[in-house]
Amino acid sequence: MSSIQLNHITHSFNDKKVINDFTFTFDSGQTYCLLGPSGCGKTTILRLIAGLEVPQNGVIEIDGKIVTENDRLLIPPHKRGIGFVFQDLALWPHFSVFENIAFGLRESIREGSRKPDKGTKLYIEERVIQLLSFFGISDHWKKYPHQLSGGQKQMVAIARSLILNPKILLLDEPMANIDAQLKETIIDHLYTLHEQFGFTMIYVTHDHREAMHSNNTIIVLNKGEIITSGTREQIKNTTDVFTQSFIKL
């Protein structure tokens, strides 16, 4: 579990400001949903937290530790304890399903000690099998990403993001391009895992129905700024015109 604090974050792409003086604290173990129209800066917030982008100004803290300060990356992405599910899933095409999931764990063990021995190999296998069974894709462990269906790829991407027991899980439009039934299944899986492991979860969507699905804290964004935030009920009853019109859409 980790808390994340973003203080006065400003970020631009080619002189176009996408995040404008953004300040927010994501409490430890909670789930958040960033909601807003395309291009409002939702994905950029996730990428800034993960350390994949460095802001021009502002400070990002994880568990009270400064990870990014102005334009300096103090802690690299792989040392932040973050799991990330990309919008295009970004499964490694040259690895099998098993390898896609196991890779991060094996490398972190290698980095921590020496070459993985028989015991660690068994541990890795056990962890991967556990995740594969949880997502119901055990039968596909030998397959390569191009041999999977869209839903199966989605499951592999989520399983991969969880292999290192992250303290923070970031999901960039994880339900895009999948059918309603599968969407329900994946959301159920995510909340079960969240309850089990208690990670801080932030996910991005532009679909207000998806955002209203559970007891998330919803943050409505527009043009890189927070318009409003609160629970499902609070958002429904907001008087803010932009939020009202966006939810009606």
Binding site: P77, F86, A90, W92, H94
Partner: protein, 518 residues
């Protein structure tokens, strides 16, 4: 019925055309050799001299390919993965060695060696040929690796960066994904290096390609030349089939990388190192050779540049017209072949072009001469058509692959939308596919033009009497001319090609702006 016939013709006319002009000559070369020599033909191939020569040629080309691939891939990586000032400039200028005929570089470095170590220095060595080949061919690896890197989606790298360090991500994720580009680069450079006639000939290094020319042109030993050609052909074929999977889709370079979103890294700590590396390469591959040619041209007591211009200027028009018409014909063939491969899934013409492409230049020359040197085909043999046929064999595959990449970037749905609207195949091609392909078509035309303009290996074998082409004139004069005159001719050659590149660059900017639709 009419539809079926037109579809059959669209598919097969090109194959028949290529077959008659180029495949049959190569097959005839093979058959003649077998029938002339009988059983001794095969044993003749494995003579000690032949084996040593082929071994040396492969060692030379293999070393050059390995080093050029390494150097070019590093450049391709730096220029496509890091953000820093003047990146576009480096990308453009480092391509120049690929576009300038390699014999110009051979002259420049021969001059440089003599300036540095004295006129009596023994420079006719394998090392110098390898050095020039590395300089000239490394941009191929730079382009191919760069193109592969640009097509790796940023998420693939970022997913790794969330778990492992940058260095490990490179080793375990990025490099394995782009590994085929190293293989393609190595293979293409190996083929170009093996096929190159001018640099080894200029330095007096015996390779299989120069030996075929010597047997044919100096000793008039057609049978020996034919036997050696067949030997080299067989080895190249074996080499090709082992990697044809990669080579048939070789990108050369992609005009667009639509849909890809590559990750770029800041290089604040490495800025000095990267600039130093690129400037050093720029210095060795572009600035120094030009400077040396200038120095040598003006070092003599008489004004040799004027004399060189007098010798070469009559060839400019004929070379340009021939290169322009060849580039046009080759682009049409490339367009046709790539459309058949990418849209009709008919790969035969592409395979034919690939086989012709790997045939060394002098071998192709011998095959064409052997086949067309008949009274009934004299109208081809005695005309510039011989050269155009040679160019088709040498460069049509490059055009087909550039255009194939262009076609791949056009979503199939654009053509399907036209089909649904009831638009016929030809009209769909002319109105939808072709306009979107214009940037690729332009790039293919320019590249083929420049390559044809400087081609020597096949041209020197097949050019008919009365034809005056710049590479041939340059080569024949330089054989007996003083070094300063050769340098002056090289400088003029360099200047002419740079003027062409400059002109095409200005036109290209307008073409790309008008037809890029982004």
């Amino acid at each position: 019925m009419v539809r079926k016939i037109s579809k059959f013709l669209a598919k097969n006319i090109l194959t028949i055309f290529l077959g008659c002009l180029l495949v049959i000559p190569v097959l005839v070369l093979l058959c003649n050799w077998i029938s002339d020599f009988g059983n001794s033909a095969v044993s003749g191939l494995f003579k000690k001299d032949n084996l040593i020569l082929i071994g040396k040629s492969f060692l030379l080309s293999g070393t050059a390919s390995l080093l050029a691939t390494s150097l070019g891939s590093v450049c391709g990586f730096i220029l496509n993965k890091y953000t820093f000032a003047f990146k576009g400039f480096y990308k453009l200028v480092l391509l120049i060695p690929l576009l300038i005929p390699d014999y110009v570089y051979a002259v420049a470095w021969k001059d440089a060696w003599q300036l540095l170590f004295g006129a009596g220095t023994n420079i006719n060595s394998y090392t110098t040929v390898i050095f020039v080949h590395i300089l000239v061919f490394s941009p191929i690896a730079m382009l191919i690796t760069g193109s592969a890197i640009s097509q790796v989606n940023r998420g693939i790298e970022e997913a790794g960066l969330l778990m492992i360090s940058f260095r490990k991500m490179l080793l375990k994720i990025l490099i394995p994904i782009i590994r085929p580009s190293f293989t393609i680069s190595f293979l293409l450079i190996l083929i170009f290096s093996l096929s190159d006639f001018s640099v080894p000939a200029f330095f007096g290094v015996r390779t299989f390609t120069t030996e075929i020319f010597t047997q044919f042109s100096a000793f008039y030993n057609y049978q020996a030349a034919m036997g050696q050609s067949v030997f080299l052909l067989v080895i190249c074929m074996i080499l090709m089939f082992s990697e044809s999977r990669y080579l048939s889709d070789a990108p050369f370079f992609a005009i667009h990388t639509k849909g890809s979103n590559p990750k770029l890294y800041n290089c604040d700590n490495l800025k000095f190192l990267l600039h130093s590396f690129l400037i050093l390469q720029l210095l060795v591959a572009v600035i120094l050779p030009v400077f040396i040619l200038f120095f040598q041209s003006f070092s003599g007591s008489e004004f040799l540049l004027g004399k060189a211009w007098k010798l070469l200027s009559p060839t400019i028009l004929q070379s340009s017209v021939l290169a322009l018409s060849s580039a046009f014909i080759i682009s049409v063939i490339g367009l046709w072949t790539s459309w058949l491969k990418e849209r009709e899934k008919y790969k035969l013409p592409n395979t034919v072009l690939m086989i012709l492409f790997i045939i060394p230049s002098t071998v192709l020359g011998i095959a064409i001469i052997g086949f067309f040197n008949k009274p009934v085909l004299n109208f081809i043999y005695a005309s510039s058509l011989m050269i155009i046929i040679g160019y088709i064999g040498r460069f049509a595959f490059i055009s087909a692959r550039i255009l194939g990449n262009g076609i791949r970037q056009i979503p199939l749905s654009l053509e399907e939308a036209a089909t649904v609207a009831g638009i016929g195949s030809l009209r769909k091609y002319l109105k939808i596919t072709l306009p979107l392909l214009i940037p690729s078509l332009f790039a293919s035309f320019v590249l083929v033009f420049i390559l044809c303009f400087g081609e020597l290996g096949t041209t020197i074998m097949v050019y008919p009497p009365g034809t005056e082409l710049m590479p041939v004139k340059f080569f024949t004069i330089s054989a007996n001319a003083p070094q300063a005159l050769t340098s002056s001719m090289s400088l003029i050659n360099f200047g002419i090609i740079i003027s062409f590149i400059g002109t095409f660059y200005i036109i290209g900017r307008k073409v790309f702006k008008r037809f890029s639709y982004e």
